[in-house]
Amino acid sequence: MARKTTLAIALVFASIAFAAVAAGATPISGTVTVENGTADGANVTVTPMTQGFQQAAKPVRTQIDGEEFSVNAPDAPLYLVQVVHDGAVHYEVLRNETSASMTLNQSLSGTVVNASGEPRTDAAVELTSSSGYSVDRTKVDSNGTFSFGPLKPNATYRVQVTVDGVPYVRTISTPGAGATNGTDSITVETPPPTDDESVLNVSGGNPASHVVQVIAPQNASQSPSAVETLTLRNEGDKPFVGSVELVAPKGAQPYAAMFQGRQTDYQKTPRGVSLNVTVPANSTARVGVAWDLRGRTLEKQFDRDADSVAVVFRGYQPENVTHSENLEAGDAPIPLLTNTEPISANDTIRLDLPAVTGSASASANGSGTAAQASAESNSMPEFPALALFGGLVATVAGGFVAYRVL
């Protein structure tokens, strides 16, 4: 009797233990304080994220009760906490912590003026958090002014004003608690844009300002392809609106182009492709082109200076690739080649790629670009039917023989 009861209880405990492994959860709590107001009843969304800032599990939602909230969210390395207050969304990223504390006591006001200082009345303004998420958006009033708030103290925000489709970007930091080192009002000038390509430099970006991703073909009869991604920085004081030309690797044909991670239209030119881009002053934008290479050689002459160049691979091992001497193996978490010294216009890099044997593995590395995503979704792993069934039949037959003989 006692043994059975113990067994029954043990079974119950086993179930509970099973539960903990089946889907672990972390309690996430936080406080949201609003100066001269309350966040009571505001919606809170906690999204579990991976290290790579991808959504890891379904978001959980709750509401603020008084100043506090608490939810149980599925286990994840990071959590993105979103609080919707007064039409604006405020963010906090939790790394290695489970408690969020948010104070909303700052504000930002601004005026949008044209080059001669007159207020502009047709501007849209968007406020973005330092993590890149949209916080709030508004339009200027008849005096050309706008305001946001309450906002977090000591926080970096990006203000993007758009007039006639042309963006103007400013980055501000709100003042800290009681301190004055911050901005609570700005004036955004909106000079007419330029189409002079010389204001653009290749600079910034991760892991490099000029990334060449080399993708192995699915089978040996096809040619590899390459995706070039350039981070363009507008060094001038006017937005750039116009077309830029990207030069093709030798013999390569374009098949897709992207701007800021989205596929876009392009025109073929004698040297490569040209695409329309918009880069705010003192800001960056990413452009990319996907090429089909001719043969297993990539030879690329640069037409712009680049402070850092990275070549990443999909389906190739860098050690099997023969490359020109101005490249060397890099020390990043992903296998890549980087430039030995800054590359200037008219420099050339060259890669000789090995032949692909069998089916190329779809091991994903390299930076996430739109072209990569679309290429990745096309995958047809070869099913080793013959080997598998041959193995099965051979094992069974071999087993028969083995039992007979032994």
Binding site: M1, R3, K4, T5, A8, S15, F18, A19, V21, A22, A23, G24, A25, T50, A56, A57, K58, V60, V71, N72, A73, P74, D75, P77, P217, Q218, N219, Y255, S359, S361, A362, S363, S374, A375, S377, N378, S379, M380, P381, E382, F383, A385, L388, G391, L392, T395, V396, G399, F400, Y403
Partner: protein
């Protein structure tokens, strides 16, 4: 009260009386009035069948005075789908279920009679289940008048068109999958009744009845397993064709809900083969027998009732709460009573022998592993519900939970199965070596992953050690256990089939072999089917412009290409007869006042046209039905109808609106026209189908061709169903999904390997079980009838060792 409800009510009365008489006879332990039970039950079966027939008739004739008919069908549907609409929603499904259960109860009554106290208990439980179902139907009848759904409509109002059938159910599989599933659930009622009655009998000191019913139990279990397997398989194949995602299994709660009883039923059958009245499994086998039905009801409740999901559905769901009560009853009888008996029974533990590796211990292992597999699925289904109830957060259980927890259990079960079969033939020492070799091979294979594709889940979202470990296991790990099972089964069959005494015994052995090899092939096919499924997409533009570019378009990154031959866009129903969507003047007058204020389409021959200052009015068929077309802002609106022409018009119908007219349909000039060429807006469009005819090529040679696209059900919230193109191949299926919008087709070609192996394995399961069900010398259906004929075993089942 509608005729259908009366049929149900009379059936309910008959069943209540039958249950009452049985319970009385059981309590008093006499045979008074028991002779009335079978006729009452027969009457109930006839009444329920008539009710089902009547409902089907209402569906076929689209009698929209019945709310359930109105909600689940429409005139444009072909006959087949009008019939299948009967079980498209809860009420009709329960009626179907109840009818099948009543047949099961009647057949049990006819086969076993009412002799003896225990028999009466079993029969009263089965009849009780039927009674309960019919009671549920009375609470929420499939025969409710349409007025109950449209409280604001005038008395006697009958809609002229139905809401239509859920678009996903417009599929040939609909005709077969639900009846098979309900039949399997209904068949589980008998084992449940026997198992539960056994424990009631034990607790009352009557010694139990399981041993005398073991033959029946075995047959009912096998029959329900046969149906349940077919139901799961048909459901998987249905989702393969209709859902358009190219898979057979997605761990959807509804799918998991049917898998749980399947797994547990499989475990139960293994326990029952080892049942000895005074030896092993005296408690567990009957307990599991009773629990299977309780599990089926439980999982159905979880996914169907809505009660678990939200407390609010208590108010609306008559079926939900009834299912919940049924769940409570079956849980108490099927789980609580056996468990209580087990706890209370004087602990006379069997002394274990020194021998560890015995066939019965291995069977214990099989039952345990199958039980654990059931638990994995059951827990995945229950966990979100519990979590929701406790913390208010609804979490979804990812498929990787089911896959990664089930995988090692399945591999272990296969190794055990191989060992068991080997042990039978080779004896302990040699079998142990075999197990060692294959176990090592399994572990080694788990590390052999030629590419990431082979790994089960290379980057599991849950980073815990278990998921990391199993997620990185290579699918190749299934190969050694599968080979081991095949080897063991073949060797055993080669030895035992020739040695078996008589044709029946040979056939049974062949059946057992077929089933287990089928399972091994099924396990082999599943991981590869998912891991090696590939897909690639390509866009084709400029379809609607007429000039279709039929050049070959390569699909980037693959050796596939597609070619578009044409584009078609069509609407259904196509040129429907006027009387399917418009009321004749005679019908308008018949329905009279009840149509007042509703929007109707009417048709008739123009007999009079009067041009007024503000409106033109048209008389139809010389009757009191007129159509009025008001003129906008005094303009001289032209109504292009002539006397003698047959027209249709759609608008709001006003009863006694003007003097000298019974009904006036107020319309506008775009909603009136000739019946031969009716205006677009008048003719109801149900389905918009878009498709491209296309060919798929691999390395330049044709793989498949045909039409693929989608159907949009405009009157059902714009729900879309994919028409996929499937080329079934020996090694892999080619599966083409096309989405057409704005003249652009996005074409996705999928390649899914192992589908043929999976289909073969399902057939093997069904064929093998049919053989065992029919020819088992001990409990087979055929053997039993023959034995009866020989009058050698009248009354009770033959008790022979099973294997």
């Amino acid at each position: 009260m509608t005729p259908g409800t009366i049929l149900l009510a009379v059936a309910f009365l008959a069943l209540v009386s039958a249950t009452g008489l049985l319970v009385r006879a059981y309590a008093a332990d006499d045979d008074q009035y028991v002779e009335y039970v079978t006729p009452l039950l027969g009457g109930a079966v006839a009444l329920l069948t008539s009710a089902l027939g009547y409902l089907t008739y209402q569906f076929v004739t689209t009698d929209y005075s019945n709310a359930y008919v109105w909600q689940n069908t429409a005139d444009y549907l072909p006959l087949l789908y009008r019939i299948t609409g009967v079980y498209a929603a809860n009420e009709g499904s329960i009626l179907l279920w109840a009818t099948i259960v009543s047949f099961v109860a009647l057949s049990a009554a006819l086969l076993r009679g009412m002799e003896g106290r225990d028999t009466k208990l079993v029969q009263s439980l089965t009849v009780g289940v039927v009674t309960y179902f019919v009671g549920m139907l009375l609470l929420r009848s499939p025969f409710a008048p349409v007025g109950s759904e449209l409280p604001n409509a005038p008395d006697g109002y009958v809609p002229t068109s139905g809401q239509g059938l859920n678009a996903l159910l417009v599929d040939p599989y609909m005709a077969i999958h639900p009846p098979v599933m309900f039949a399997s659930y209904a068949l589980l009622t008998m084992p449940f009744a026997i198992g539960a009655a056994h424990f009631i009998s034990l607790l009352r000191g009557n010694g139990g009845l399981y041993s005398t019913w073991i033959g029946s139990v075995t047959r009912w279990l096998r029959l329900s397993w046969l149906f349940l397997t077919a139901a799961v398989a048909l459901g998987g194949l249905w989702s393969y064709t209709v859902l358009g995602w190219g898979g057979i299994w997605a761990w959807d709660p509804v799918e998991t809900a049917i898998l749980v009883p399947w797994l547990f039923l499989t475990a139960t059958m293994h326990a029952v083969t080892r049942y000895r009245p005074d030896g092993e499994y005296t408690i567990l086998a009957p307990a599991m027998t009773a629990t299977t039905f309780a599990l089926a009801v439980y999982t159905t409740s979880v996914v169907r009732s809505g009660v678990f999901r939200s407390v609010h559905s208590f108010a609306s769901g008559g079926i939900g709460i009834s299912l919940l009560v049924l769940m409570g009853i079956t849980a108490v009888l099927g789980v609580g009573v056996p468990f209580g008996y087990w706890l209370l029974r004087d602990g006379e533990e069997r002394t274990s022998t020194d021998e560890w590796i015995t066939r019965s211990n291995m069977l214990h292992g099989a039952v345990l592993l199958l039980g654990l597999l059931t638990f994995v699925s059951l827990w995945g289904l229950t966990f979100p519900v519990l979590r929701d109830a406790v913390s208010g957060i609804e979490v979804s259980v990812e498929s990787q939970y089911y896959n990664l927890w089930s995988f090692p259990l399945v591999v272990a079960a296969l190794l055990l199965l191989g060992f068991y079969m080997d042990f039978d033939v080779e004896g302990k020492r040699r079998a142990k070596i075999g197990l060692g070799v294959f176990a090592v091979a399994t572990v080694v294979a788990a590390f052999i992953a030629p590419s990431e594709t082979w790994k089960l889940t290379p980057n599991p979202a849950n980073g815990s050690l278990f998921y990391q470990l199993i997620g990185n296991v290579s699918a190749l790990a299934v190969l050694p256990p599968v080979a081991y099972v095949c080897l063991g089964m073949f060797k055993r069959a080669a030895e035992r089939i020739p040695a078996a005494a008589g044709r029946d015994a040979k056939l049974k052995e062949a059946g057992i072999t077929t089933i287990h090899v089928g399972v091994a092939l099924l396990v082999l096919s599943l991981p590869f089917m998912y891991l090696f499924a590939g897909q690639a997409s390509v866009m084709a533009t400029g379809l609607a412009s007429g000039a279709v570019d039929s050049s070959e378009k390569p699909i980037e990154g693959t050796d596939y290409s597609v070619r578009i031959f044409g584009y078609s866009s069509s609407e259904f129903p196509r040129n429907p007869p006027v009387d399917t969507y418009a009321l004749s003047t005679q019908k308008v007058l018949e329905r009279g006042q009840s149509l007042n204020g509703t929007v109707q389409t009417v048709s008739g021959t123009v007999t009079n046209i009067r041009q007024g200052p503000r409106a033109t009015v048209v008389q139809l068929d010389g009757s009191g039905v007129w159509v009025g077309v008001p003129q906008a802002n005094g303009s001289s609106a032209s109504v292009s109808v002539q006397e003698g022409q047959q027209i249709v018009a759609k608008g709001r119908l006003m009863w006694n609106f003007v003097p000298n007219a019974n009904a006036m349909v107020l319309t506008n000039s775009s909603m009136i026209g000739s019946a031969n060429a009716p205006p677009e807006e008048v003719v109801p469009t149900r389905v918009e189908a878009n498709g491209v005819s296309m060919g798929v090529y691999r390395d330049g040679s044709k793989v498949t061709s045909g039409v693929a696209g989608q159907r949009k059900y405009v009157q059902q919230g714009g729900m879309q169903v994919r028409d996929v193109l499937i080329e079934r191949g020996l090694i892999s299926d080619t599966y083409v999904i096309v989405g057409v919008s704005d003249g652009t087709a996005s074409i996705t070609v999928k390649r899914i390997p192992m589908m043929s192996v999976m289909r073969l394995s399902i057939l093997m399961l069904l064929a093998g079980m049919s053989l065992v069900l029919l020819y088992d010398p001990a409990h087979g259906v055929r053997s039993r009838t023959r034995a009866k004929k020989a009058e050698s075993a009248a009354g009770t089942d033959v008790e022979t060792a099973d294997d």
